[in-house]
Amino acid sequence: MRKSRAQIYDELLVIKCRQGDKDAFDELVGRWQKRLWHYAFKVTGSESAAWDIVQETWYGIIKGIRKLEDVSVFPRWAFGIANNKCADWLRGQRQQHRLNNELTKRTQSEPDKKQNGDEKTESLRSAIEKLSPDRRALLILRYHEDFDTGQIAEILSVPEGTVKSRLHRTMDQLRKIVERY
């Protein structure tokens, strides 16, 4: 397996964290905070929820990093924690019968919409927003975070075949929407 410099550096930071190095943890937070926040934001659609999820994710990381034997799995492990926190948040929202409102209220991304007038892109964006949170998570992990299907299966705790079929169905769904324009 080939690894990039960034991956090796992250692994080095995780090893240092396992030894209790404060500076390494600081750097790790700096490198991963934004990525985790974007993931949480895109899945939940709420900026404040994304911050809460990121905070809880880091608590989970602090708690479990010493037990992480294979340091190369850190990205998958961290996203797995974030994904579980997102799922908890969405479950909570559903229980309060507010999920639908939250999804339609996803107007935080409105300024971005104005920046890009391309009709096709806009239709794609609104189609993504209408997807269920787990489908959205799938797309983000695949096309934004560049994880392969095996890694996504680990993060979402589902079989790889399920990831492939869900991805295929979601892409078909999006293709149909985009083709209309």
Partner: protein
């Protein structure tokens, strides 16, 4: 990668406004938490281990002094020795874990240097 996938990548990149100030505050909080947790863990491990070893040694010594028969004395002496040896075993365990992490760290640093020498964009063989 087809056209839709490229478009999807582009769309997913543009989303949300990341609050850098909030991020910095959270970062500081997390580092504080990291320090507290590490300190607490180290203190907890030390005291549990210290009290356990001390208890075994004191118990063993009292038992050794109060028991009259040879068999009992041998048993208590073994108990005392275990208490004493556990301090050495604990140090040994810590050294093994630390040495393992140090080796892993050296290997990663070496890999990183190879990757740097190979060039910025070049991936490195694991």
């Amino acid at each position: 990668m087809d056209k839709l996938e490229k478009q999807l990548k582009k769309v997913l990149e543009k989303n949300g406004v990341f609050d850098a100030a909030k991020s910095e505050t959270l970062r500081r909080e997390l580092i504080q938490m990291w320090c507290d947790k590490n300190l607490l863990r180290a203190k907890l491990v030390f005291w549990i281990f210290f009290l356990l070893s001390l208890g075994m040694m004191v118990g063993g010594y009292i038992g050794l002094r109060t028991t009259g028969d040879t068999r009992g004395m041998v048993s208590w002496a073994i108990f005392l020795m275990i208490g004493f040896n556990s301090t050495i075993l604990m140090k040994l365990w810590y050294w093994v874990v630390d040495a393992k992490l140090n080796v892993q760290k050296e290997v990663k640093q070496l890999q990183l240097q190879i990757a740097e020498l190979a060039g910025k964009e070049q991936p490195v063989e694991n």
